[in-house]
């Protein structure tokens, strides 16, 4: 059975890049455009890993991670941040919210495959 990855990013091209990089590794990808849509999708399917941007409309990445980490059923899902924000304080803030990994844009497809494999293989 394919492992399912939820990709939350308001950029359709980034969602497509991530899907391209991971679909060929045999993962099923669900794409959402912001944190709110991610929170709507999460309870209705088995999600094995989440890749999220930080700057998103409605519910941003920080809020999404905090909500997931505070939910008993979802708190153990690995979360990878994928953001263009690369300052140390931004990284620290993302990790303190509960993210497991942090990748900066533009990302190397092999690196994202490696990060995902760390949690799912």
């Amino acid at each position: 059975m394919k492992k399912v990855i939820l990709v939350a990013d308001d950029s359709p091209t980034i969602r497509k890049f991530v899907s391209f990089s991971l679909a060929m590794e045999g993962f099923e990808i669900i794409q959402v455009c912001d944190g709110m849509e991610a929170l709507e999708k999460l309870p209705f399917g088995k999600i094995d890993l989440i890749i999220t941007d930080l700057n998103m409309p409605n519910v941003d990445g920080y809020e999404l991670i905090k909500t997931i980490r505070s939910n008993e059923e979802m708190k153990d899902i690995p979360i990878i941040i994928l953001s263009s924000l690369g300052k140390s304080e931004e990284i620290a803030k993302g990790l303190s919210c509960g993210a497991d990994s942090y990748l900066v844009k533009p990302f190397d497809p092999k690196r994202i495959q490696y990060e995902v494999a760390k949690y799912l293989n």
Partner: protein, 255 residues
């Protein structure tokens, strides 16, 4: 007593007249200045009207510039998606070819094993030897397949590099969104300036006319940096955070 009082009053009148005279003298000096001020005003008013008109003109063009930026973003997004679809299709084809080639290679290797057994059975016949050598010269399939697999791996790497380079679209769209935000701010300021100068234009500039999506988010400092250096810096920070976390866990265990 009354005479003295009259003299005093007269002195006051002269004082006042003197003051009045000084005022007129001062006024006479002031008149050219006021005149030049009026002349200046006469010259300045058309200039101000000109500035006002220029601001109005510029302000009316800003929404068009802003919409052009939005159009550019949409167009690059569409083109990027199309390119990525093609790259995706190429990658899928490569994966299929790789799979088929690997199966073919395995079969070829099995065939070689069978051939080696036949070779042993043929013995020392000179004709058989000649044919075996000829067959081995022609049988380069396995070697060719390895070369092809290497080429496929290279094409896959190239496809990854294309996706890495195409991410410039996301970075530039964030930069353009930041520019649009800036343009919107300038537009609002200019519009309010026009309203201050001439409030009859209030209705005309009440709406900004710029179509910036409400849900637009962007990183104004987004930069297209493909080097591994940025990710390495992030990894260093994460490693330091993890080390601190591990140390605090160790401390907790021994406390």
């Amino acid at each position: 007593m009354s005479k003295l009082s009259n003299i005093s009053n007269m002195a006051q009148v002269f004082d006042k007249l003197n003051d009045l005279k000084m005022l007129f003298t001062y006024g006479q000096k002031l008149i050219p200045i006021i005149k030049s001020l009026v002349d200046f005003m006469h010259e300045t008013v058309p200039l101000l009207e000109n500035i006002n008109s220029s601001i109005s003109d510029t302000t009316s063009k800003i929404p068009k510039a802003s919409n052009q930026i939005n159009n550019v973003t949409s167009a690059t997004e569409l083109a990027t998606t199309e390119i990525l679809d093609i790259v995706d299709s190429i990658s899928n084809d490569i994966t299929k070819l790789e799979g088929a080639l690997k199966v073919h290679k395995e079969e070829s290797e099995k065939r070689d094993e069978v051939f080696n057994e036949i070779k042993l059975m043929l013995g020392d016949s000179p004709k058989a030897k000649e044919l075996i050598e000829k067959y081995e010269e022609l049988n380069v399939t396995t070697r060719n397949m390895d070369e092809l697999l290497t080429i496929f791996a290279k094409i896959r790497d190239d496809a990854y590099n294309i996706t890495l380079s195409l991410q410039v679209q996301d970075i530039t769209s964030q930069q353009l969104a930041a520019v649009n935000h800036l343009i919107e701010s300038v537009h609002v300021r200019l519009s309010s300036l026009i309203i201050d100068i001439d409030d009859t234009d209030l209705q005309e500039y009440d709406s900004t006319g710029i179509e910036v999506p409400d849900d637009a988010t962007f990183d104004p400092n987004a930069s297209y940096d493909k080097s591994a250096e940025r990710q390495e810096q992030v990894d260093d920070i994460i490693n330091k955070e993890n080390e601190q976390a591990s140390q605090s866990e160790i401390d907790k265990l021994f406390s």
